[in-house]
Amino acid sequence: MSPFSGGLATVAEVATATEASGLFTLTWLLVGLPLLGAAVLLLGGRRTDRWGHWLGVAMSGGSFVVAALLFFGLLGRAAEERTVTQHLFDWIAVGTFTVPFDLRVDQLSMTFVLLITGVGTLIHIYSVGYMSHDHDRRRFFAYLNLFVASMLLLVLANNYLLLYVGWEGVGLASYLLIGFWFVKDSAAVASKKAFVVNRVGDVGLSIAVMLMFVTFGSVAFDGVLTNAASASESQLTWIGLALLLAACGKSAQFPLQSWLLDAMEGPTPVSALIHAATMVTAGVYLIARSNAIFDAAPTAQTAVVIIGAITLLMGAVIGCAKDDIKKALAGSTMSQIGYMILAAGLGPVGYVFAIFHLVTHGFFKATMFLGAGSVMHGMNDNVNMRRYGGLRAVMVVTWITFMAGYFAILGIPPFAGFFSKDKIIEAAFSVNTLTGLVTLLGAGITAFYMTRLVAMTFFGKARWEDDAHPHESPGIMTGPIAVLAFLSTVGGFALAYGNGIEHWLEPVLGFKEPVIGIPVPALTAITLAVVLVGAALGWVLYARRSVPVVAPAGNLLTRAARADLYGDAFNEAVFMRPGQYLTRWLVWFDNRVVDGVVNGTAATIGGLSGRARRLQTGFTRSYALSMLGGAALVVFALVLVRL
């Protein structure tokens, strides 16, 4: 705790919750509406094909309306009364241990709910256009609704066990959506990979829940987080590390990052949903929600920061080398989530900014992913940026909106990312200079790869394939992008205005103003300078020079980054191959040794009885002789016994 002590620190206290009444009795509708949509679309089958997608949009939109109502309801209350729980029913009751099915609305979950339902609804609307040629559009919307419902359950749960249900639901929905085009082998493999890697993280969460139960005798937020001080530091460290493992799985952090890049096999709106609104943000939520545990376990916090820093740089480096526009954006997501995880590991100076960056990232990453989808829509689903170029002339709306997302991720004022990312860098420098330098370097690399992406796609000479006829996407797709681009532009300023987001989240997460050695404007200037250097480098290399259509061999680092920094190779060598050898050996053992004993016994008995069979000669008088001999033996034995 020492780095954070002193000053005007406020540590989060679990506010006393009030039971839902009035407006807040609608809370269950947040999860219920999308879940109903998914159920109707999945059970309704082909009958719902014609209007199914509009039902999906309506359910997600309805959830957003409820969220907005509840948000204004919360705003109308005093800061310390903004925690509302709704008891739906008792889920598990074993002796004295009960797990209620409770939803919890507070500042943190409300922030997530608004992001999930808001961005989620925009992605739903966009998907109506994007998937219009797909004959299975209804199934797609059913899964989208399921995804949103699971994520909402995850952030609204009032105990870790219920959170786990949402956590698994998110994993399932992502599996279904990544493998939506399951007839494609690569998509089927990618969905399986995402599921398996996520399962590794899920083990972490289940261990954490069990440890909580052992330590605190409860799995509820109120029971665990308020009593965190009563546990020893080592207990909390183990719980924190298990939670970190869980966060690594869902948020694609090192060493469980490998599924995210392959997850691009799903339709583009899915990537936008996974990266902006749901799924990868779950890990950040988990750590932020468990802030009381991490605050009391400095070792676990350090681990969180290290994981965040590694992933931040890994994602950025991978993003620099990918020619697939979606994979470059996926690398960028890894990197940005790394920023959030790092910030969440910094303690009270960072939690608020982690969530702030998560929200702005949701805006600009959704803008860019949907923009990338729009580009692909016009380019016959080609994802190779080396075959793009000069698209700004033919896709004006997509280009302008994409540039809003671009400036936002770079952190150019006044775009959204400037406010959140700058704060994270500031917080990182306030704790540790090395951490600060990593975030600064990450910002520079981010500027480089994003400039490369934008230059290769929208600027330079056209390198289109012969049959490509790029065109602007229909209004139903560009509309949601425009809204998101608007949010990417002003969202950061709006949330940061008057330190609004700090005051809003402080009661749940705690807050401490970062203190750094140099004036804040100086740090901002340094950050901007690093960003501009990165951007200029990208511009010189990829806009001023012509981009070859076939990727050049590249240096060692480029080749490594193209291979995802050998993450897959490592997993294959360390886990997959030994696993395969083990199973092969087990199959051999089963076939030869286990079956060998069984079959050997059968063969021995069969062989012996084959011999014994020869005694049946069919010669009647020999039977008579043996009967006589047997009878004589019996008599002899009787006489012997009698004697």
Binding site: T617, G618, F619, T620, R621, L628
Partner: protein
């Protein structure tokens, strides 16, 4: 008369029957030898009943007679059938039922 003489006779008859079963091939003769063995044992039962002064042996002799009669009914029918199909009553030739 000494009852052991009956037993000797019974043993001789039983042995003749047993040897007959083992050495003869004709099924009818075989059958007659079996009857000889059964009746030898009947003689032994009755003798023992006399020696012990109770009726157990005599009762069992009746049972044996009943079994022998039933056996003759079934056995002769089988032998008739075998003879009709194979034109021979030799037990050595009826050796199809084997391993």
């Amino acid at each position: 008369m000494n009852p052991s003489n009956y037993l000797y006779l019974s043993a001789i008859l039983f042995s003749i029957g047993a040897v007959g079963v083992l050495v003869r091939r004709n099924a009818i003769v075989l059958f007659m030898c079996v009857e000889l063995m059964l009746n030898a044992s009947n003689l032994a039962f009755v003798s023992f009943a006399r020696v012990h002064g109770n009726l157990d042996g005599q009762v069992i002799a009746f049972f044996v007679m009943v079994v022998a009669a039933a056996e003759v009914v079934v056995g002769l029918a089988i032998i008739m059938t075998i003879f009709r199909t194979r034109r021979s009553a030799s037990v050595d030739e009826a050796n199809l039922l084997k391993y």
